[in-house]
């Protein structure tokens, strides 16, 4: 609990916070605190027990998911509904919180809309980080981007721009289960949904390259689901590749070191002295 003062004026009108993937376990103390200070909290998460947990922190809790999404509608319409609801509430009776699954700045459009609109409306907004799927994937796959780097793309964007991939760098492809459409739908996928992305990936990886699909657990007792299959089997995995799944493509090999001179220098005290005011003798 942060220190209490008698100052009732809040520094911000809207707090936008990340709930993490398992809200009650991942939520930061800072996000919890701003929810406690809010007149109303709007949330976007289907994690079990999320609403009940938020209700222990704030008396007025509103689910934006059911309010915003309609089958077959453009996702942008849903985002507009979410953003307008939060902004309207903040103009009525601030501060309010808008808390979302994962990290609010990662693969998430409404916070960007709210930030932009708030500037014009004189509303002050604070964005607070949360644990994202990416953070969980780092833990689950023991993936350290410090070793060989990391490339990651949103699946549809990858295809639209025909982005090139580096086969020697670990790769994450987000939202593969919703690839090729921006329309919201709960319908299950067909194998054909993954044909185009397969063709794109085959430009950079061999057909028998083993890739993984991961669905990060959203409930503490549930295991994270990971499956491994050959790249050319991706279409046959259609039933598993739902909208919560991320593709992981391990590198096909390690890029060799090219700059041998630098390799020698990185352990050299003399070299460090050239770069810094280091006291090393």
């Amino acid at each position: 609990m942060m220190s209490q003062t008698n100052n009732n004026k809040e520094a911000y009108d809207i707090y936008i916070g990340g709930l993490g993937i398992t809200p009650s376990h991942h939520m930061t103390r800072e996000v919890e605190e701003v929810i406690r200070r809010s007149k109303e909290v709007f949330y976007l998460s289907n994690s079990y027990g999320c609403k009940e947990y938020l209700e222990t922190l704030c008396p007025k809790v509103t689910d934006l998911y059911n309010l915003s999404y309609k089958e077959g509608s453009e996702r942008l319409d849903a985002y507009n509904t979410m953003s307008a609801t939060v902004i309207n509430a903040a103009l009525n009776n601030s501060p309010v919180s808008f808390v979302l699954y994962g990290h609010p700045s990662v693969f998430c459009y409404p916070p960007r809309q709210i930030l932009q609109a708030a500037q014009l409306l004189g509303l002050k907004v604070k964005v607070l980080p949360g644990i994202s799927s990416m953070d969980c994937i780092f833990s689950e796959l023991n993936l350290d981007p410090g070793l060989h780097g990391l490339q990651m793309y949103e699946a549809t964007d990858l295809l639209l721009r025909q982005r090139p991939l580096q086969s020697d760098v670990p790769c994450l492809i987000w939202q593969v289960g919703t690839v090729e459409s921006v329309l919201y739908s709960k319908a299950s996928n067909k194998p054909e949904r993954f044909s185009r992305i397969l063709n794109h990936l085959l430009k950079y990886y061999p057909s028998d390259h083993k890739i993984g699909a991961i669905f990060v657990s959203t409930y503490p007792l549930a295991p994270t689901k990971k499956i491994v299959f050959r790249l050319d089997e991706i279409e046959s995995q259609y039933q598993y590749l739902h909208q919560g799944v991320t593709l992981y493509i391990p590198p096909t090999g390690i890029r060799p070191i090219v700059d041998e001179d630098l390799l020698e220098e990185i352990e050299s005290v003399v070299h460090l002295r050239k770069l810094t005011n280091s006291p090393f003798e």
Binding site: N46, Y48, G49, R161
Partner: protein, 134 residues
């Protein structure tokens, strides 16, 4: 219908880390004071994917081994999708129409204000509204 404490157990997992830890290490002991159906008890003991069948919000990962075709997978995806890429990292310059809407919104209340906020967001998304007289 037999009373079941399953919701209490599932919620306690979220809010009591000691209980969660005990379920992982001594599940029989953790559950001894709860009334559960045989199926619920088995699922809690297994601690595998079947736990999703107990979760109210149907967060079900669909698998090859367990392919319920009608299952509703509800994962919140609020993505910056590729077709929104024109709403690039750098916010576009604010048009006079958007500024005008911003000033108007400050003077309004209730549903009228909400509708104008939606208009402003549409303008920001590059979708001119019908009130656009520019």
């Amino acid at each position: 219908m037999t009373r079941s404490d399953i919701n209490e157990v599932l919620n306690r997992v979220l809010n009591d880390y000691d209980f969660y830890n005990q379920l992982l290490t001594q599940p029989e002991k953790a559950l001894e004071n709860y009334i559960l159906t045989k199926q619920e008890h088995e699922i809690l003991m297994k601690q595998d994917d079947s736990i999703y069948s107990l979760l109210r919000d149907k967060e079900l990962p669909v698998t090859e081994e367990d392919p319920p075709p009608t299952v509703v997978v509800v994962i919140v995806v609020v993505a910056i999708t590729a077709l929104l890429a024109n709403l690039a990292d750098e916010a576009p310059p604010v048009s006079p129409r958007i500024r005008e809407l911003g000033e108007e919104i400050k003077t309004l209340h209730g549903n009228e204000r909400y509708e104008r906020i939606l208009n402003m967001l549409d303008e920001m998304n590059g979708k001119p509204t019908e009130n656009n007289d520019q």
